[in-house]
């Protein structure tokens, strides 16, 4: 047998002792982790934990496994939202298929949970998240070929969702993607999403108000409008040029896209603006938060946390009457504000939401309580109330697998 992986993969050393020579379907239950957050797969997929990390193992024909391994590695390097691939095991005895190993996307949720949960997230918002992922992939020249809710994982990001590609088996990389390829990909997505929702309805897992066919039919339009928004050429008067360029740039950044190059062609009729929109990993706030605190969070969460950090710095400066360097403020905020909130989570509720998401929700809750009380209740009180009344409403089954693995 051969194992292929790209360093660093030290966290996975423990995986080498697993019974790779056996068919995945026959692995002993004691080696596996039960993960309720699952989509539909046509392959055998199992989950294992090693040194506090969870991995997804998929049995699949070797050429497909190598293809997927190569593509997922590329996606990760380029910052495309996809699961992270660890490696693969090939040359297994008796001509068994290869096994592709990906890192489990912690704190992610499947569409099955999101569409059927009592929290009833708006289907429109989930579709917009999916469509944003498709636009990113298409801008990067990726034809997905199997875009479906099953092949996507969702993560909460401070009140919105972020979508990640899970399955790249049928994906293809092109220098650029023709309009026809995009249209075809969207059409495939429309059909799969429709089928998946019909399936949920049939299993009585879909809230009554959601019409699978109407939701699926809305997908192409949502895609088109986002695609248009990020790629369209604009024409405007010369005197509005400066302000319109800045506005467009800001709008694209707000949508989470970067602009590689802007081309402005002026003529008697006005200026024609062409943008070369890029998919960059949304990251400015994320990097800043990491630099100041060492915390990892998603972009919108990071923005929220940074705002709180800055407010805390202002408070420190006001109290001491002198400037506080931002690194010092970061340090103190982490120790005096953030960590106490996270530490107040009782063990039985740990792992249900990402820590940064919890902090964001505590801030939301603080706003809600303060509004009601007519005064600022403070973070400590908000955190206590949140842990007592809000967090327990998040169902146990969304507990991220690495935390469950630690409990065993």
């Amino acid at each position: 047998m051969r194992y292929l992986f790209r360093p660093p993969a030290a966290e996975a050393a423990g995986l080498l002792t697993l019974p790779w020579h056996q068919p995945l379907a026959e692995w002993d239950d004691s080696l596996l982790l039960e993960v309720p957050q699952r989509g539909i797969s046509r392959h055998v997929v199992r989950f294992v934990a090693s040194e506090g990390r969870v991995f997804a193992l998929k049995e699949i024909a070797e050429p497909l496994a190598r293809h997927e391994y190569a593509l997922l590695s590329e996606f990760e390097q380029e910052g495309l939202p996809s699961v992270s691939v660890l490696g693969l095991c090939v040359d297994r005895p008796e001509d068994q298929e290869a096994i592709l190993v990906t890192r489990y996307l912690e704190y992610s949720m499947s569409y099955r949970y999101l569409f059927s949960s009592a929290r009833a997230h708006s289907p429109g918002r989930l579709l917009d998240t999916l469509v944003e992922l498709m636009v990113r992939l298409h801008l990067a020249g990726v034809f997905w070929g199997d875009c479906s809710l099953s092949n996507t994982l969702f993560r909460l990001d401070a009140g919105t969702f972020a979508a990640y590609l899970v399955d790249a088996e049928t994906a293809e990389r092109h220098p650029t993607l023709s309009a026809r390829m995009r249209e075809y990909d969207v059409d495939l997505a429309r059909e799969r999403v429709g089928a998946e929702l019909l399936d949920l309805r049939s299993g009585e897992l879909l809230p009554a108000g959601i019409d699978p066919i109407a939701v699926a039919e809305s997908l192409p339009g949502r895609y088109e409008s986002l695609w248009d928004e990020v790629t369209r050429e604009e024409v405007f008067r010369l005197d509005e040029q400066q302000y319109r360029v800045a506005e467009r740039l800001q709008r694209l950044n707000d949508l989470g896209f970067d602009v590689g190059e802007m081309e402005l062609v002026t003529s008697a009729e006005g200026a024609r603006l062409r943008v070369d929109t890029r998919v960059a990993e949304p990251g400015q706030n994320r990097r800043e938060l990491f630099r100041l605190t060492g915390l990892e969070a998603q972009e919108r969460q990071a923005r929220r946390l940074l705002n709180d950090l800055r407010a805390y710095r202002a408070y420190l400066e006001q109290r001491s009457g002198k400037p506080v360097p931002e690194t010092v403020a970061g340090h103190r905020w982490l120790a005096e504000v953030y960590q106490p909130v996270i530490d107040s989570i009782p063990p039985e509720l740990a792992g249900r939401l990402e820590p940064a998401q919890i902090f964001h929700e505590v801030l939301e809750h603080r706003w809600f309580l303060s509004e009601r009380a007519g005064r600022d209740v403070g973070t400590t009180a908000a955190a206590r109330a949140y842990v007592e009344t809000v967090l327990p409403r998040t169902p146990r089954e969304v507990t991220t697998p690495s935390v469950m693995a630690d409990r065993h």
């Binding site: 024909a61 390829m181 399936d199």
Partner: protein, 421 residues
């Protein structure tokens, strides 16, 4: 259902590289056409131009009499079979087949009729109310086919559908696809790199090399009357043996002795210098097992056997031979181009499974010289191809197809309208 006509189709990429180069191909209504060739031959690009996923640089793509160059995939009404394998666990088998119609808001009565007709063809009618978890591997694949059928497409398209299945399921599926195509009589284009699939499935096979058509013919014509070295080497497993040969007194001098040629073939090679003679493994036999009456139809030679492979019902012997460098290089290039691993400087010969020929010993072989072909090593052209005999083989295949389709239609109880547009 519809015929597909391609006229001088060219696909040129930005860098000027022609992935498909002046391809003209007519696929008859109801015909099963295979596009085959090694990777990079242009077969998938051609299929994508039929579907509408790739722009056509020049030429005409005509489906059902209409030029479709500028039509989007959805407007062409073709069905990519197996583009969606997913089975939905809460949906019944019926709904797993029906959902494309549900999403298109097809009236219930129509959905019911189309799904039941498809299920009859696929022999899934007994399972329609079950959940897919209870289906066998083969039945699951048939559900995916059912989805394609209910769309009532003009044609079915397959892009290497079996390449990732295990050997057992692959064999089963080959049979299923072939049977289904006959029963529905629907125009089908099937892309594969596997010559075995090509030979067993297609009415006609289009062999492509570097974006150009080499030969379009029935599997038998390809096998017996290949136009060139490339087709001869690509079709057949184990592959055709190519030996260096020089014309000599109306025959050929080869490392395996002199091979007699009939008048027609002798005339075709006179005046030539170094040639390649192509001999299929089954044209050889252990001389001691050949009937007296057959012996004069071929030639005898002795050679040392390197390895034998006994497979129960058949047996192969490997006989190394010497070849001049020019030929050796030619063969190496050919095997590289065919994605084949071996350098062909040993002949693979098929001998009767009862033969006692042993490894490492000299043995006497008989070689049936009636069916050998002679190739120009430089151009690859088959100098001894009998075009008329070849055409007759392809005509026969076409007649068989018509007959089988009629049988299928009259035979099995009124499911003839399935898949009809």
């Amino acid at each position: 259902m519809a015929a597909i006509e391609m006229k001088h189709i060219v696909k040129q990429y930005g860098d000027g590289f022609p992935a498909v180069n002046d391809v003209s191909l007519d696929i008859a209504d109801g015909e099963f056409m295979i596009l085959v060739g090694p990777s990079g031959c242009g077969k998938s690009t051609l299929l994508r131009m039929i579907v509408g996923l790739e722009d056509i640089t020049s030429g005409d793509m005509v489906i059902g009499g209409k030029r479709v160059n500028d039509k989007a995939p959805r407007e062409r009404n073709l069905s990519m079979v197996f583009q969606n394998y997913a089975l939905y666990p809460h949906l019944s088998v019926f709904e797993n087949i029906a959902f494309p119609l549900r999403l298109a808001k097809t009236p219930d009565a129509e959905v019911d009729r189309l799904v039941r007709e498809a299920a009859d063809v696929l022999e899934l009618h007994e399972h329609l109310d079950r959940k897919p978890a209870n289906l066998s591997g083969g039945q699951r694949q048939r559900v995916a086919m059912g989805r394609a059928i209910v769309r009532q497409a003009e044609a079915f398209l397959f892009d290497e559908p079996l390449s990732n299945l295990d050997a057992k399921l692959r064999g089963q599926m080959r049979t299923e696809i072939s049977r289904l195509q006959r029963r529905l009589g629907i125009t089908t284009v099937y892309v594969t790199h596997d010559q075995m699939e090509a030979m067993t499935l297609g009415d006609r096979v289009c062999v492509l090399r570097k974006g150009k058509i080499q030969q379009v013919a029935s599997p038998r014509e390809l096998y017996e009357q290949p136009v060139n070295l490339f087709v001869a080497g690509f079709i057949g497993s184990p592959p055709m043996n190519f030996l260096p040969a020089t014309p000599q007194n109306g025959g050929l001098s080869t490392p395996f002795g002199t091979i007699k040629l009939d008048e027609r073939r002798a005339a075709a090679v006179t005046g030539r210098d170094l040639l390649l003679v192509g001999i299929r493994p089954e044209y050889f036999e252990d001389a001691s097992l050949v009937d007296e009456a057959k012996l004069p139809l071929g030639s005898l030679f002795r050679a040392r056997v390197d390895v034998t492979e006994w497979l129960g019902d058949s047996q192969f012997a490997y006989i190394p031979y010497e070849a001049p460098d020019a030929i050796r290089n030619q063969l190496r290039d050919l095997s590289r181009e065919l994605d084949a691993e071996e350098l062909r400087t040993q002949a693979i010969v098929s001998i009767d499974s009862t033969s006692r020929i042993r490894e490492g010993r000299d043995a006497e072989f008989w070689l049936d010289s009636r069916k050998v072909h002679v190739f120009d090593p430089t151009t690859g052209e088959n100098l001894t191809r009998d075009a008329e005999a070849g055409a007759a083989l392809t005509r026969m295949a076409a007649e068989d197809r018509v007959e089988q389709m009629e049988d299928a239609k009259s035979g099995s109880g009124g499911t003839t309208s399935v898949g009809a547009a």
